[in-house]
């Protein structure tokens, strides 16, 4: 008995405790564009927190593991996005993200100085991802009081340990993709990551790459936890710029590469193609594909699955290239139930008004949404002008949390829980006044404008189809990101557009102009006065002109008196 027990222990010791899965989901969109979503997940059963110095890293990247243990991070979510997700044309994304860079972190209970740790964490992440995240400081960090609950497991949620910041101006380019690819176990050499070529990925309408770290349940009893690292990359290729106007896409056309093998370190490597709207999928050789149904974002969709770990997927050519063709008339896009817009109204450079519109397209159900607005201090909000109206009538929010801004220290934070009536538009308006910055605080290109980060709307949207609440069953990665607690609704997070406002900008060439003008005025004014006071006049015989002189000479010769 004892020997069997020891043998079992030995087996568990040598069994690797980390696991890597990769998948690619391709969904043809109603507008003719194609949405491709890569997800890479590494699960690792280890304990960064209990003081053990973890030194042997296998699939989990060492740079992120060190960040987690050094800064006592419980959850970390960072995303870099170029472009804005058009909900009405493309539907809901699997992983939402706002334009620019977004970072939100839950720290462990043991952290004593959360602000100091946050500052150091942003600096370290700016080095890892080659982004200017060091611009995140107290002027753009907020501490939401009800939004952004942890996505991983946890029993206590004290919002003192949460920090959220966005940098809407952040650019995403190959220099951010390069370190992101280096975090993958196979790098960009094998598996699905070979498709990630920057020249194609950035020539798109929408590009978003993100890293999500959180603790998850290992099994259904949920007594042990493992750390999950998800790296996601969402791209939407445009019909006209990349597709030449034809609804015919292949892997080679999208990524200029074909697949040759799965990542050897991956336990599962799959491609899912959304065939709910009956696109024709063809390939170079006959391969059988599994068809599965999955409930994602409140809708039951059919996917055709290609498993790259099986050798016969690649056939004799040893490469996989899928061709997807579909017609625009087939299939009706499910209208997204929740949509939001935001814009600035008003004229001039002194005041303005921010309008946020939220559309509830459900015919008979109303649901609550949580709106989070973080406005920089240089737009001074007048909260007494805040109005929330639905269908023309006043709609009082059931929860409001407002933290006023302090000049140059912290931004405005407004969080509201609003019930959206069915089939309606809810409008939130608030007036603001623009501040005049100090001359050193202007960016080198102040006439471009100043960005205000996107509003975040978190909602539990009623679902048409029963959602799957079993969180530990084997599910495709794209459907298991947000934990599902009840069957009748699913959680979404929507981001509005960021705003671009002009602040009163001084003319920076003025000092030079002022000096020139002042010197000219002083010279002309003082100079003339000085001349008038000190100049003395003497009468002088004018020098006769040449003609007169010649005439005088001739006159003298003649003997006639000369001219005057």
């Amino acid at each position: 008995m004892r020997y069997v027990h020891d043998l079992q222990l030995l087996v568990t010791l040598t069994h690797p405790k980390d696991d890597f899965q990769e998948e690619l989901v391709i969904r043809p969109l109603q507008s003719g564009d194609v949405y491709a979503s890569f997800q890479f997940r590494t699960l690792w059963e280890t304990d960064f927190m209990k003081g053990n110095k973890v030194s042997h890293y296998r699939l989990f990247p060492k740079s992120l593991g060190q960040v987690i243990s050094k800064f006592s991070v419980r959850e970390l979510h960072i995303s870099f996005t170029q472009g804005y997700w058009r909900t009405m044309q493309w539907g809901q994304p699997f992983m939402p993200s706002p334009p620019g860079a977004e970072l939100w972190v839950w720290f462990q209970d043991s952290v004593t100085d959360v602000d100091g740790t946050w500052k150091e964490l942003t600096n370290v992440l700016s080095g890892i991802f080659c982004a200017s995240l060091n611009f995140i400081d107290s002027t753009n960090t907020v501490q939401p009081s009800a939004s952004f609950k942890p996505l991983g497991i946890g029993n206590v949620t004290d919002h003192r340990f949460l920090r959220y910041a966005t940098l809407p101006r952040e650019i995403v380019c190959t220099e951010n993709l390069t370190p992101w690819k280096k975090l993958l176990p196979c790098g960009s050499k094998a598996g699905l990551a070979v498709l990630m070529k920057s020249e194609k990925l950035f020539h798109s309408s929408f590009h978003s790459q993100a890293v999500h770290i959180r603790p998850v349940c290992q099994d259904s009893e949920c007594t042990t936890t493992s750390w999950e690292l998800r790296q996601t990359l969402n791209v939407v290729f445009d019909l006209h710029t990349s597709g030449q106007g034809k609804r015919e896409w292949s892997l080679f056309k999208m990524f200029s590469r074909t697949l040759t093998e799965a990542c050897p370190l991956a336990s599962s490597s799959k491609i899912y193609i959304d065939i709910t709207d009956n696109p024709q999928v063809s390939f170079l050789h006959n391969i059988l594909s599994l068809k599965i149904q999955a409930v994602v974002l409140g809708d039951r969709r059919t996917f055709s699955v290609y498993d790259l770990t099986e050798a016969n997927t690649f056939g004799s050519m040893r490469s996989l290239n899928l061709l997807i063709r579909w017609k625009s008339s087939e299939g009706d896009m499910l209208r997204p139930l929740l949509h939001a817009e935001r814009y600035v109204a008003g004229y001039g450079l002194q005041t303005g008004e921010i309008h946020t519109l939220m559309y509830n397209y459900h015919p008979f159900r109303s649901f609550p949404i949580l709106l989070l607005d973080s406005v920089p201090w240089y737009l001074r909000l007048y909260i007494h002008t805040l109005t929330v109206t639905s269908k023309g009538k006043d709609n009082k929010p059931s929860y409001i949390h407002y933290q006023p801004s302090k000049d140059r220290v912290r931004p405005h934070l407004l969080e509201m829980l609003v019930q959206l009536p069915p089939n309606s538009v809810t409008e939130v308006t608030v007036q603001f006044e623009r501040a005049l910055l100090k001359w050193t605080e202007y960016t080198p290109d102040p006439n471009h404008g100043f960005y205000v980060g996107s509003s975040v709307i978190s909602a539990l949207v009623p679902s048409m189809v029963a959602m799957d609440t079993n969180n530990t069953k084997e599910r495709p990665l794209f459907s298991s990101f947000f934990p599902c607690k009840e069957e009748s609704s699913y959680f979404v997070r929507i981001y509005t557009e960021p705003l671009l406002v002009n602040l009163p900008t001084p003319d920076f060439s003025m000092p030079y102009n002022v000096i020139c003008l002042t010197c000219t005025v002083v010279a002309v004014g003082y100079g003339s006065l000085y001349n008038l006071l000190t100049r003395s006049f003497q009468i002088e015989e004018p020098n006769p002109r040449l003609a007169k002189r010649i005439a005088n000479v001739i006159r003298r010769l003649r003997g006639v008196p000369p001219l005057a």
Partner: protein, 383 residues
């Protein structure tokens, strides 16, 4: 004193002439540096300054190709051209027209970008005085045996270089920064290349030893750009850096080309401006300095014949968690939008204000004191 040195020299010559490998060893240790660093800065913002970013990226590309790794390169680009919305070919920066050569590539790491490229950050990188939380990739961690290549490009004038259209660095500041580096033993030898208008004015004020400088134009001359690309719509490169890139494309890590070849790059016939150089502060003869001393990263390998015995691999001591005896804590996922909990949430501690009654009492006291001292006749003005 002289005769022993002469004798030792003779002995050295004999020893050196005997074997080829000895000659190469001699060549290795003539430069005295053990590692290479590069600081490449582009200081211009806006789409029409595409050529400055292309300049910097072409030097970055050459330096990477010749062996300096990303961890030893500090690349500062003041604006993003590759993913700029005006770029007809995103994620590319071309140096030759007809889009022949993409200098941006697929494997690029920019350390300082956008608004981070300021005079203050540049000087802090050079002198090493960075805040403690700065990550390693943003630091110049050179020591006294490092050869550093510094490349600056942008818009400049007589004695200054403009950073991002809002500030400038003067040649005096730059010279002082290099002196600080010398005093803190942060470099062994330093090569300074600048491609701006009137670039030679920037190295006029240097006074620290072991500095060699090259500029694309003399004082009073403008550096000109090379060729526009009609599809992209801007000039792609500056002339000096274009011919410098062509010259560097022929260099490989084992190349023996020296600095005199570098001084001949881009004569007046090709560049229209007169490139200049300064070597009076440099201790070695420029003819003996290899290009790869600054642009490449030649690792010195020491071959040893002694044997080293490796110990047995250290066994990882796995901590066996004691299951069963401990009470297992069940975890669960957090409710993402707990509506009832949010509505009944205790409001956060507001800033303390004195109670309302106190303020009322205070004002009553003030009014009483006022009327007592100045008389009750003022009361009728208020009521």
């Amino acid at each position: 004193m002289k005769i022993p040195t002469l004798l030792s020299l003779f002995a050295a010559c004999f020893v050196a002439g005997s074997a080829n490998i000895e000659e190469n060893v001699g060549q290795f240790f003539s430069s005295g540096h053990t590692n290479n660093w590069a600081v490449l800065v582009c200081t211009s913002r806006f789409w029409f300054n595409y050529r400055h970013v292309a300049n910097t990226l072409s030097v970055y590309r050459s330096v990477k190709r010749l062996g300096i790794p990303d961890s030893h390169i500090v690349l500062m680009l003041a604006d993003d051209m590759a993913c700029n919305h005006r770029n007809p070919k995103p994620a590319t920066v071309f140096s030759h027209k007809n889009m022949e050569l993409n200098v941006y590539g697929d494997d690029v790491e920019v350390d300082y970008r956008g608004y981070e490229v300021t005079v203050e950050n540049f000087l802090r990188v050079l002198t090493g005085r960075l805040p403690p939380s700065t990550p390693r990739s943003k630091r110049l961690l050179s020591d006294d045996r490092s050869n550093i290549l510094i490349y600056l490009t942008g818009h400049g004038g007589n004695g200054f270089l403009k950073f991002q259209d809002s500030e400038e660095i003067s040649n005096v500041e730059l010279a002082d920064a290099f002196e600080q580096m010398w005093q803190k033993r942060r470099y062994n030898e330093l090569l300074f290349i600048i491609d701006t208008c009137q670039g030679a004015s920037m190295y006029e004020r240097f006074y620290s030893p072991n500095l060699m400088a090259l500029a694309s134009s003399q004082v009073g001359e403008d550096s000109l750009s090379h060729q526009p690309d009609l599809a992209i719509g801007v000039h792609l490169m500056d002339r000096y850096t274009f011919y410098l890139l062509e010259f560097l494309e022929d260099i490989h890590p084992a190349s023996k080309a020296n600095m005199n070849d570098l001084f001949k790059v881009c004569p007046k016939s090709q560049c229209v401006s007169t490139p200049g150089h300064r070597t009076d502060l440099f201790l070695r003869d420029p003819g003996s300095v290899l290009i790869t001393d600054f642009f490449g990263s030649v690792r010195k390998v020491e071959i040893t014949t002694e044997t080293i015995s490796l110990t047995d691999p250290i066994k990882q001591v796995e901590e066996i968690a004691v299951h069963g005896e401990q009470e297992k804590e069940t975890y669960s996922y957090v409710d993402q939008l707990p509506v009832s909990e949010i509505i009944h949430q205790k409001p956060k501690q507001k800033d303390w204000h004195p109670p309302d009654g106190f303020i009322l009492g205070l004002w009553t006291l003030i009014l009483l004191v006022f009327f007592k001292s100045y008389g009750a006749k003022h009361l009728k003005h208020i009521f």
